[in-house]
C-alpha cells in the first residue's frame, strides 16, 4: 500500500515541476526557445512507465496545461496525446536506444509537435511565427539527457527508500 502511494509521487512531482517551469518567466528574447517541458516529462513517463502515462492521462494533463497557460482549450491536450501515442508505438525500440539516438528520437518528436502546433495556430487564424519558433525543439533535446537521468533518479528514490 505504502509502495503504491510512493510510486505516484515522482510522477506528480515531475508534472508539477514541468508545469511551473513552463510558466516561469524568461527574458523576452529567450522566451520562444523555452522547451515544451511538459512534453519532455510526459515522454519520460510514457517511455518508462506506460501504465502511469497513457493517452487518457496525457489528454487530461494537456487540458490542465491549457487552463494554466490560458491557451486555446484542447491545444496542448491534442499535442500531448499525439506525443504519447507515438512514444507508446515505438516504446520497445526507443527504450533500448543509446542516449544519443534516443535524444534524436525525442528531437523528432518535438519537431513533429511543433508542426502540429503550427498547423493549429494557422487554423486558429494566427500568423506565421518567425524562425525562432523552431528553436524550442532543439533546446528541449539538449535538456533531454539530463532530464532523463534526473527523473530516473527520482523514480528510483522511493523504491530504495522503502526497501
Amino acid at each position: 500500500m505504502t509502495r503504491l502511494r510512493w510510486s505516484g509521487l515522482p510522477l506528480l512531482a515531475s508534472v508539477i515541476g514541468g508545469l511551473l517551469l513552463s510558466l516561469a518567466p524568461l527574458p523576452l528574447a529567450l522566451a520562444p526557445f523555452k522547451p515544451f517541458w511538459i512534453a519532455l516529462v510526459v515522454i519520460y513517463w510514457s517511455l518508462e512507465q506506460p501504465e502511469h502515462m497513457g493517452l487518457g492521462r496525457a489528454f487530461l494533463l494537456g487540458l490542465l496545461c491549457d487552463l494554466a497557460t490560458g491557451a486555446m482549450l484542447g491545444e496542448q491536450a491534442l499535442r500531448l496525446t499525439i506525443i504519447v501515442f507515438i512514444v507508446l508505438r515505438f516504446r520497445s525500440r526507443m527504450r533500448f536506444f543509446p542516449m544519443l539516438q534516443q535524444s534524436l528520437a525525442v528531437f523528432a518528436l518535438l519537431v513533429n509537435d511543433r508542426v502540429i502546433a503550427l498547423a493549429l495556430r494557422l487554423l486558429s487564424g494566427a500568423g506565421w511565427p518567425d524562425w525562432s519558433f523552431w528553436g524550442a525543439p532543439l533546446i528541449g533535446t539538449l535538456f533531454w539527457p539530463w532530464l532523463f537521468l534526473l527523473l530516473d533518479e527520482l523514480r528510483r528514490m522511493p523504491r530504495r527508500g522503502v526497501a
Binding site: A31, P32, L55, G74
Partner: protein, 336 residues
C-alpha cells in the same frame, strides 16, 4: 521481442490504441472549436482561475526572490541618485498637470457652450504585471488584480508613456490583458498631425505595429505620432500609441503600408495603469436629477480628465456633492 512476436495478437491491440487516439483527437478538436469560435468555455475558465492563482504565485516566486535580493543589496548611493531622478520627473509631471488642468477647464467651458452633454473622465487604478510567461507567441500579460478589485473586460491598459493593451479576461483575482502588439489585436488610431484615422494591427513582435490601410493621398510622414482615435469605444481618445517608422507601398499598390513603434514600453514588466473611461454629464441646462441618473457620479469639481489613483467604488450610485459641483461649474463657465 514481444512486440513483433505474434502479429495476430497485436493487431486488435494496435487498432484499439489508434481508435482511442482518434477519440481523444476528436475531443480535443471539439474543445478547441468550442473555445475559439464560440467562447462557450468561459465559465470553465473562470472556475479554473482559482487554481491558477497559487500556481502563478509559485511560478513567479523565483523572480520575486531575485527582486527582493536586488532591493536588499542596492547601495545607498544609487537609491539617492534614483530618488533625485524621480523627484525631478515628478516636478516636471506636476508642471504639466498644472497646465493640463487649465486646458481641462477651458475644454469644459467650451463643451458647455457647445451644448455637449457629456465630458469624458478618466479613472485609473494601478496594477502590477505578474511575472508569468503564458505563450511566448501570443502577447499577453497577467495582472495581479481581477474582477474582485473592480477590473472589467475591455478596460484599457497603459504605462506612463502610452497604450499597452486591453483586459480580455477578468476572473476574480488575476486578469489577463492582450497587448496592442498581439497579432490578433487591432487599435483604432489617429495621426496627431493630420487627424487621419486608420487602424494599427499587432504583428506579434513587441517592437512593431502595422498600418496597412493608408491611402496614397494621405499625408503621413516618418516620425508622425499616433494616438487612439476613440472609435470603436474600446479605448479613450488621445492616448499615445506609436510613432511611424517606415512607409511603403503594399503589394497591390492600392494602399501605403506603414510600420510603427509602440510608445509604451512593452518589454518592461512592472506597474501599469488600468483606465476606465466614463461619460460624465455636464448638465448645463438640464435638471440635476435627470443628469445624475445619466451616469456614474462625477469626480470632485475641477478635475476634468485628471487621473485619480484609487478606483472609485464600482457600485453605481449618485453622489449629490459631485453632481452639484458639476452643475455649478457650468453656469460659471457661461458667464466668462
Amino acid at each position: 521481442m514481444n512486440y513483433m512476436g505474434n502479429p495476430a495478437a497485436r493487431a486488435p491491440d494496435a487498432a484499439r490504441g489508434t481508435l482511442r487516439l482518434v477519440m481523444y483527437l476528436v475531443a480535443a478538436l471539439i474543445l478547441m472549436t468550442a473555445d475559439h469560435r464560440g467562447g462557450y468555455l468561459d465559465a470553465l475558465r473562470e472556475r479554473a482561475s482559482t487554481l491558477r492563482g497559487p500556481l502563478y504565485w509559485l511560478a513567479a516566486s523565483p523572480v520575486r526572490v531575485a527582486r527582493d535580493v536586488t532591493t536588499a543589496v542596492t547601495d545607498q548611493r544609487s537609491v539617492i541618485a534614483q530618488n533625485d531622478e524621480l523627484r525631478e520627473a515628478l516636478l516636471r509631471a506636476q508642471a504639466q498637470i498644472a497646465r493640463q488642468s487649465t486646458l481641462d477647464d477651458e475644454n469644459l467651458r467650451l463643451r458647455a457652450l457647445l451644448g455637449s452633454r457629456y465630458r469624458l473622465s478618466l479613472d485609473a487604478r494601478m496594477a502590477a504585471i505578474v511575472d508569468v510567461d503564458l505563450d511566448p507567441f501570443r502577447q499577453r500579460v497577467v495582472l495581479d488584480a481581477g474582477s474582485a478589485q473592480g477590473v472589467r473586460v475591455g478596460q484599457a491598459l497603459m504605462d506612463a508613456r502610452g497604450l499597452l493593451g486591453q483586459v480580455v479576461e477578468a476572473p476574480p483575482q488575476r486578469a489577463v490583458a492582450l497587448l496592442i502588439t498581439d497579432a490578433s489585436h487591432t487599435t483604432p488610431v489617429e495621426v496627431v498631425r493630420t487627424g487621419l484615422r486608420t487602424l494599427a494591427f499587432g504583428t506579434g513582435d513587441s517592437e512593431r505595429l502595422r498600418l496597412p490601410y493608408i491611402p496614397f493621398s494621405a499625408d503621413v510622414k516618418v516620425g508622425d505620432e499616433l494616438v487612439t482615435s476613440g472609435l470603436g469605444r474600446r479605448f479613450p481618445a488621445g492616448l499615445p500609441v506609436a510613432t511611424i517608422l517606415t512607409i511603403e507601398a503594399d503589394d497591390s499598390g492600392t494602399f501605403a503600408v506603414a510600420t510603427a513603434r509602440p510608445t509604451a514600453d512593452l518589454l518592461r514588466y512592472g506597474e501599469v495603469l488600468l483606465l476606465r473611461e466614463e461619460a460624465v454629464p455636464i448638465a448645463a441646462a438640464r435638471p440635476a436629477a435627470a443628469s445624475s441618473s445619466m451616469g456614474p457620479p462625477a469626480p470632485p469639481a475641477g478635475v476634468a480628465a485628471g487621473i485619480s489613483p484609487p478606483l472609485r467604488n464600482p457600485a453605481r450610485g449618485t453622489s449629490p456633492d459631485a453632481a452639484r459641483a458639476v452643475t455649478e461649474s457650468a453656469p460659471a463657465a457661461e458667464q466668462q
